[in-house]
């Protein structure tokens, strides 16, 4: 009987996903969960796009709203015309490994490539280190049907560094080559973390290089302003909302989804 109990205990112990945990601040990302951005870009490259027009979804500020994350993923999976998904950052609350793993495990249900940008919460504790291992570079770009997508890390306080506007400027250098340019950054330029110089630098870079749309999260609220450069802020998934962007040849339309 005693031995039976011990065997039962071993059974319970060994069903734990992470057998031993040493601290919430650990940053040890398992091998199969690394380089996610690169893997998703490969997936995206392998998709044959039949028409010039395509759609992508934008979800943001997923924090610990794991039920809503799953609901939205299921909804996106049903929509065959969505090519890929962009995630606008704050995929964790405290930037700890456990939250990164929970996000990763749930978004594995998505049947489309997804690409993330880091948010300010994701930098907390060792989050910056974990993000780099699990996903990859903080700043990167990719192309779809001659449209350029630039994912730009603009967190200031939590990352203890300034946004790399030189990199952004370089990426925008060849903007004339593309039909349209979309920039994704966690915080809108009106953020409390930007000083006036940063606001001006960001906005003028986008203006001078004919960016179609600048997409953000962070505020948890909806904001959309159409101008030479359009600015869109999508609400958090806490509100069961996300956005679908329909990209046409020289223009785009947005569709807000509330579940």
């Amino acid at each position: 009987m005693k031995y039976l109990r011990i065997i039962l205990l071993i059974g319970i112990f060994s069903s734990c996903d992470t057998f031993f945990e040493f601290s919430v601040y650990e940053a040890s990302v398992t091998k199969e969960n690394r380089n996610t951005t690169f893997k998703n870009l490969e997936l995206l490259n392998n998709i044959q796009v039949s028409s010039q027009d395509f759609k992508f979804a934008f979800i943001t500020d997923t924090h610990y709203f794991y039920n809503n994350l799953k609901i939205i993923i299921d909804d996106i999976n049903k929509k065959e015309d969505i090519l890929f998904v962009l995630v606008g950052g704050d995929i964790t609350e405290q930037g700890v490994l456990k939250e990164y793993q929970l996000f990763y495990d749930i978004i594995k249900n998505l049947e489309k490539p997804y690409l993330t940008v880091i948010g300010n919460h994701d930098y907390k504790s060792n989050g910056g280190v974990i993000y780099k291992r699990m996903f990859g570079d903080y700043n990167y770009s990719f192309k779809v049907n001659n449209n350029k997508f630039i994912l730009f890390d603009n967190t200031v306080w939590e990352s203890n560094k300034e946004p790399d506007f030189d990199w952004l400027s370089m990426e925008l250098n060849n903007s004339k080559m593309f039909n349209q340019i979309f920039v994704v950054a966690h915080m809108p330029p009106s953020t409390e973390q930007f000083n006036d110089d940063m606001k001006e630098t960001y906005k003028s870079l986008l203006y001078e290089n004919n960016v179609s749309l600048s997409i953000h999260g962070h505020t948890h609220n909806y904001f959309y302003e159409k101008n030479t450069v359009d600015y869109l802020t999508v609400p958090t998934i806490k509100k069961s909302t996300y956005c679908i962007v329909n990209v046409q040849n020289e223009s785009y339309t947005i569709e807000m989804i509330a579940l």
Binding site: L9, F65, Y66
Partner: protein
């Protein structure tokens, strides 16, 4: 894990002694009752410290230092100061010299390296964040107490196994059906040595 359990069981079952342990209470109140070493459990790769039996067979409180080297954390070294409280639910005599107790308890840990902060830095507006340097764990498990009546060095030892989680992890599991219990629970093992 299995080997350790076997070893522990062998020690427990293998030794038979007929002397009753009379636990000599220290006359000096602040002298600890036992020393402790634990592996894992979100309070360090290894944590060591001292413990007090505050209420006999009902409340054990410990002061621990935990450490995670860079090679394991894959970030900076992690230093943790922990207060751990263990409460045996009941104690079952399993033989002359050992008892078995189901246990529950909690820990509170402080860590201020690794980009965490006890006092929210001034760059953040009021109410932007709360501290992320303190974490709590909750655990349940089994402790086997073995007396060594013939030993001059060690009067007895507890060997324990625990399943535990961190406060926010538990909150996520309670509030979200996407977060399963096996996502958030992990194990710890440890020994208390009574001198």
């Amino acid at each position: 894990m299995f080997i350790i359990l076997i070893v522990f069981s062998t020690i427990s079952f293998g030794q038979k002694s007929f002397l009753n342990d009379t636990k000599a209470k220290d006359s000096v109140w602040y002298l600890p009752d036992y020393a402790k070493i634990q592996f894992a459990g979100n309070i360090g790769l290894l944590s060591v410290g001292v413990g007090y039996e505050i209420i006999h067979r009902a409340w054990y409180s410990e002061f621990l230092y935990g450490y995670v080297p860079e090679s394991v954390s894959e970030a900076e070294k992690i230093h943790l100061i922990t207060i751990k409280n263990t409460f045996p639910i009941c104690t079952k005599e399993m033989g002359t010299n050992f008892t078995l107790s189901p246990i529950v308890g909690f820990t509170a840990s402080l860590e201020t390296g690794n980009n965490s902060f006890l006092k929210v830095p001034e760059k953040y507006p009021k109410g932007y964040y709360i501290t992320n340097a303190i974490h709590f764990t909750l655990f349940t498990g089994v402790s086997i107490h073995k007396k060594f009546p013939n030993s001059k060095m060690i009067k007895g030892a507890d060997f324990y196994f625990e399943l535990g989680t961190v406060e926010t992890y538990l909150w996520y599991a309670i509030t979200s059906k996407e977060v399963k219990l096996n996502d958030i629970f992990s194990t710890a093992i440890g020994v208390n040595l009574y001198f």
